[in-house]
Symmetry: C2
Subunit: 156 residues, 2 copies
Amino acid sequence: MYTGSVTSELRTVLGDLISVNNRLTRLAASVSGNTESPAIWRTIVVLRDLGPMRLGELARVSRVSQPTMTKLVHTLDERGWIRRIADAGDARAWLISADPSGLAALAAWRDEVTAALEPTFDDLSDDEIATLAASVEIVRSRLERAREALREGKSA
Amino acid sequence: MYTGSVTSELRTVLGDLISVNNRLTRLAASVSGNTESPAIWRTIVVLRDLGPMRLGELARVSRVSQPTMTKLVHTLDERGWIRRIADAGDARAWLISADPSGLAALAAWRDEVTAALEPTFDDLSDDEIATLAASVEIVRSRLERAREALREGKSA
DNA sequence: CAGTATACATAGCCAAGCTATGTAACTATC
DNA sequence: GATAGTTACATAGCTTGGCTATGTATACTG
């Protein structure tokens, strides 16, 4: 009786994507030891891919609130995984930069998680792997687009 | 100096998949109002897809600890989104079942999230949508496999 | 130089995750 | 059929990630 729902094919696949992601995340967390949290890695990934940036921009790009990012940056700083560089010309701001040790920790975590998941996925055909890789690129490009939209919304 | 890391193509794509999922989850959370948490919906999805089951099995299938599931079920029960049915023949156990109102709430949430995400994805080609759909099915089949492995580990 | 806007920090809350432990019920053994 | 072990769920207590509201210091602007 869902009179209002226009379940286009796109909408359906987006919903399924979110749902299956959600379950995959739990699988990844449970098969690997994984004491460290996703938020930490997400933050380092953003810094690695986009380079040093201010805390506020890091929060916007990561899609979390500024106070949440302050906490994450604090945690990362304690572990020595990022560096805080005073922003010359604005004494209020910091440039947050990924530390090499943070990148190494990220790589180690990836190794652990993918090793733990591998047995579950090890009979995928080359085609299937290519399909997954293509999907990753599709989603990545849309995340990038959303980021651009954010920047324009900012400046406009 | 990552002497041990065999970065096979599969491992690479799995790592990218986890990473991009992580960012997509934040995007979905931020573009939709989304006060409700992913764990709630994940639980209802499992119940919808696999039918009523005991709390402990629900925890295992959802890949969370039993106490975590006790809390989730409590929350779901308060909202009237599941039903607890006494297990005839075992007074310790409950059968947890998705309530129609929970399924409706799930559908409503999906509608909201996909509507909010749609603008970011609305220029995907049919091929790209098909690629995403195929990936969803691949991952879903592996989640199913992991679940079977769990059952066998249980009974063995 | 006064007032407003901006950048980050702090306070305080809630939910989701965990481990350790408790309680009640089932099972099996003698 | 009491007793011991096991199982199913609940409770306690902790950490982290997320939020809003607010504080403080710096920058900008009239």
